[in-house]
Structure formats: C-alpha cells, structure tokens
Symmetry: C3
Subunit: 267 residues, 3 copies
C-alpha cells in the first residue's frame, strides 16, 4: 500500500466553518461523549429519539448517526423513521453495529435496519463487522473478539454486498467501499482503556461525512484527526480519566502542521 | 441600565447550607452534567422519571427542573405529574424548552406543558424563547439561531403572557418577569464549545430558586455564580475537555471575594 | 475488630488478567461513570436493557449489576429477566437499591426484585439499606439520611433474612453476610461532592465478584481499591471536577505497594 493523498486538513476546516448539525439516535452509555466530541470538532450535535420528531430532526441535519448500543424495539423503529427521512433528502446515514455478535437481538436488528433503510456506512470493531458479514464470531459484550478470516476481505465483501462503505476500527482502521481500501494507522493504546472511543469514532465519521460527498475520504479524514488528537492526549495524560478530557482539548485545537506531520493513512 | 443590587453571595451560602434536593426530569445527553453541577454547588440532585414516582419525588424536593432535550410523549406525561405535584406544594418549576424551534413536536409539547401546569420560569436560548413566544424562527438543532425582533421585548412579552419569569441565556443573559429586567454579563465564549452549559444553567437556576421566594433574584444569582466559575475555568483550561472539569472545581470553591469582584449584573 | 487478612492485590490482579464482562442494568445519570470505572479497573462493561437481550447478555457476563436509580416498570421487568438468567448460570447478581426510602415505588420495586430473583449482594447507603431492612427512614432523594438504629445490626439482620451479602457504603463501609462483618475505612470526603461514587462502588463490587467465589472478600477488596484511588485523587485534585478524572487515573495505575500501605480493612 502507498501513502494516501487525502486533504485531511481541508475537511477539518470545512467542519469548523460549516458547523453542521449531526443528528444521533445513539446509546445512553456514551451519548455524552458523542455529543461532546462532535462539539469539540466545531459541529452541532443533536439527539432526538421520539418517533414523532426523529424524522424532522434528521431533515434539518447534515448527517445521521445510528448506534445500537442500548437498542430497544421502539428505538429501532424510530431509527427507521429518521433514516427514511435522511434517505429521501440524501443525508448520509452512518450505522454503528455496537455489540453485534454479542446477542441475537443485536444481530437481528442490525440486519433489519440494513434491509429496511439505506445505510451509507457501517461501522464496527472487528468482531461486530465480521458478525454482520455473516461470520460465526462472538463479540465479548461490546469489546472486540478475535476474527479468524482476513478482516480486509470480510470488510470488502460486506461493502460490496451492502453497497456501502464499511469502517472497521481497531489498532489499524480499515475503510473500504468494496474496491478502494484505506488504512488509518493513527491512534493510541490508551483509547482501549476508556469507554466511548468506538462510539465517538462513529460520531466523528458522521461529522466529516456531513461536509463532503466523498464519504470514504471524509471518514478516513475524521478518524485520522480523532486519532491524532488521541495520540497527543495519551502523551501527556496521567491515565484514562485525564486522557478523555485532554482528547477533547486536542480535538478542539488540532492544527494543520500537527495533522500533516502525524497522519498515517495508506491506500 | 444600572448595576443591580442583588446579594449573590448570600444565596450561594443558602444553597450550601440548606443542600436542597433538586428533582429533574431532564434529557439523557446532559443528565450527567446537570447532576454534577447541582452537586458541585452543594445541593442534592435527583432524577426520577417514572410516572409512578415523579410526583412523590417532586414533593420531597425544593425545586423541579424540566428539560425537554430528549422528550417523548410518556416523558412529558410524567413531567405533568411531577409539575402538578410541585404546583400543589408551591415548589418552583423551571422549564428548559431545549430545542424548541427545531421540530413541531418540541414546540407543541412545550406549549402543552405551559398550558397544563404552572411553570414558574421558562428558560431557553434566543431562538428557543422566540419560538415559544410565537416568533417564526428555526432553532439549529439545540443551538441558537439568529432572532430578528428585539429579544428583550420578546422575553418581556412572553413573561407577561405566561405570568412567569423568562430567562434567555446567551452572551448576555436576560431575565425578566415582564416588568423588571436583569442582565447578566458574566460567562465566557468557551461555554459554547462544550455540550451541556445551557442545561446546566437551568439546573443552577433550579438550585437557587430552591432557597429563595424571589425567583428572579435567585435565577440571576445562580447564573452569575455559574458563569463566574466558567470565566475562571476558561482562563486556566487547555480546551473544552479540561474546561468542563475545572468549571466544576471553581463552582465548588467559589468565594465571596471573587463573586464581588467579578459579578456583572445590570437592572 | 482486628485488621482483616484479605489479599486485595491478588483480586485486583485477577480482574486485570481476566477482564470479565460486567453486565449492567443501571440508571441514566451515572451510567457513564459506571462504565468508565469498570473499564479503568481493566474489565469490560456492557449495558443492555431490552428484555429481548438482557437475559442473553447476562449469560455471557461474569457478574450482573442492577441499579434502580432511574427505574421504570419495564426496566424492572428486564432486570428480572437478566437476573433470572444469571441465577440459572450461577453468575453473581448485585443490587444497588439507589433511592430506596425516597419513594414508595422504589421501596416496592426493590422488595419485588428481592422476592422474585436471587440477589447475591444488596448495596446501598445507610438510609437505603435501613429502609429495605424495614426501618422507618426517609432517604433524601438519593443522598443518605440519618439512621437511628445501629447500622451494623440492621445490615447483619437484613443479610440473614435475605441470605445474601449486604454492603452499606459511607464514611466507613460495612459488609456482612450476617455472620462475618468487615469494615473498610478507606475513602475521602471529596467522594460526597461528586455524583456517581455510590453507583460506581456497586459496579466495582460487581467487577470484583466476577473473579472470586468469595463474594464478601471480593466486595471488600473492590471497595478498598476504589477508595484508595479516591484518596490519592483527592490529594492532588483542584475540586470535584478534576477529582473524578484523577480517580479514573489512579484506579488504572493502582499498584500493590500503594494498596498494602493504605488498605484499612477490619474484620
């Protein structure tokens, strides 16, 4: 693979200039992190899960983030309304299949969403994505389990079958539309010691997809920025508590020079 | 306008001495911030949204904070029970019309609450308040949009029509009962870069309204303290992440001298 | 009482080595804290409250934590499913009777849970535990009120009657199975100035109960570690905001020497 030529800085600047509204139907554990990370990037998060308004709220947003972390049947129904509304207006829809592979309910509802509405990007960790791709793998709650088959092949096949982008986060992130395949090698081990980095990554992907029609480049750029900020935070923190706060600080103040020096994207 | 003569310090001391219970029916995004800011001021937050207990919990509280940030039909019904119970006992009820002007559902439910129970104070940002006052304005998710008409006139008219206090937060906060009008000029731009400052402001208003019958002076005092702490936090933070944590620190340790030196209240 | 001989360090090491999945049905206020503290200890938190999956998720976990902080009727039903599933597999079930003594609904539902499923450990503050034990006491929202009768007798009797362990947290924590009675004297006053320390304590107890069949020793060890970290955090923080973040830092980096020097457990 070669170093990829994506103008990460331009997209970050677009987010900061346009301050897009990012609508979420997400889980109750990390909703606070998701809202804060979107805000730290300069965008405007909103969360509205009532079926009476989830569609209208999606309409005024520039991206829709769905995360099944604490799903219920009613919540999934409201996601369908929001996504249907977003689909009609061409607003990108991002789905985090959080915990897929842990329970049958999560698997079933993830597939139901994928079969009912147009999802533009599926995001998960290795075992979540493998499960949605049909592999026989068990996710350890919401933490990734080992996947036997080649993750790049799994992701590429899922992307082709579902005609969408697939993002697999981990030590190296894989992003593919079935043909193109990018890898983001930024990030830090400390990200695995706090709750919410996976969910935040999805919200960041949504935030960047809100300002570009090239969703794969947008997603790669978002993850790259997020993970560079995590590297900077990890270098100065005293542990997972102060890491999280400094992560928001570094996202907020991230500049061109730092991105150019640190970005490690392959294509 | 002249410098207002409100004994902010005395009310802060009352909060710390009495440690009032502040009952909340609030949103799932910033519930954590709301609970923590009430606690940092020395009071005792509680959140109980089940209709079977929301009324009884309101009864043992000294103020009730309602926030429609992630409303559902059931949640609004439980708010009515809690507010009805608070009304009977003369416990002040504060309503944050979070996101009014973004969807029809939020507008309708805000008005339904105002028509059904006695709300003692309506709080919102400029476009939320303008919308509840009947202006044709669209809130950008939960972030304020520009309002054409004179905000002071809008707030004053709404206060008169609804026979309550209206609090509009922004760079300058406006608080009015229709006749008196106070302005709080404290605060810092960093407050706009984190999630939850608007919701926390409402919880702080509730906390101070719990210890004084003069709700407008209590609200002015609470906002002033909260925003002075924000100024102090902004001066020493490294960005929005550490700002939030230091905000809690400064609220906790806020003293008379600092308040007297920094308070900027007009009447 | 004498100094207790519990190998706290060994259990902490077990948690870090095994990284057990800790399933939660907990409240929306401190869910974020609960997830983060479990993660900081090296374990894997998961929260899944839908009745369709709460049982299956409990099955793949090593402990189940129930917390009624923001209970609803549906939520309690889902707790029963999760606990029933955990009971069948011998997975320990921890119940935080958060806010018992504040409303009749909380008392009734706590007792209903205790009568319906096997609870291995009941945890609460002084007035919550006293109320569940049948005392006539009113909890101040979710903050402890004074209890007239001897707390050790109350706890011991409740433990005998319910054939489970009872954990009462406070300045001195009391843990008893009805016969044995341990006291943990670690902790710091700053813990009372932030939201979530009580709920986190329960999640920590669950985390340690996941790696040992001796649930009382596990609970004592977990609380001791958590509270030593709180002591360290309190010594260097600037107030409740930075205290919380440093608490996570110190939990993460807690080492044998510090534990041995600071642990204050009596039996």
């Amino acid at each position: 693979m070669a170093k990829a030529k994506i103008d990460v800085c331009r997209l970050l600047q677009e987010v900061r200039n346009k301050k897009p509204v990012i609508h979420h139907l997400t889980n109750w554990v990390t909703i606070y992190d998701c809202a804060n990370i979107v805000k730290a990037f300069g965008a405007s998060p909103v969360m509205a899960h009532a079926p009476e308004e989830s569609g209208q709220m999606a309409n005024l947003a520039s991206a829709l983030v769905l995360n099944i972390g604490t799903l219920t049947i009613d919540f999934i129904e409201s996601m369908k309304i929001a996504a249907g509304s977003a689909n009609l207006k061409g607003i990108p829809v991002i789905l985090d299949v959080c915990g897929a592979g842990a329970t049958k309910f999560r698997d079933d509802k993830s597939l139901e969403l994928l079969d009912t509405v147009k999802i533009d990007l599926i995001k998960g960790n290795s075992s979540e994505i493998a499960r949605i791709a049909g592999e026989n793998v068990s996710t350890k709650g919401v933490d990734a389990a080992e996947v036997k088959n080649d993750l790049e092949v799994v992701a590429r096949t899922l992307a082709k079958n579902r005609r969408c982008i697939v993002a697999v986060t981990g030590k190296t992130d894989i992003l593919t539309d079935g043909l193109l395949l990018y890898k983001v090698n930024n990030g830090h081990e400390m990200m695995t010691h706090v709750v919410g980095t996976g969910c935040m990554a999805t919200s960041v992907i949504g935030t960047f997809c809100a300002v570009s029609r090239n969703l794969i480049e947008a997603s790669v750029s978002g993850l790259c920025c997020f993970e560079i900020a995590a590297e900077l935070a990890a270098e100065v923190c005293g542990g997972p508590g102060t890491f999280k706060e400094k992560l928001f600080d570094y996202v907020f103040s991230l500049d061109k020079e730092t991105i150019k020096k640190r970005q490690r994207i392959e294509c």
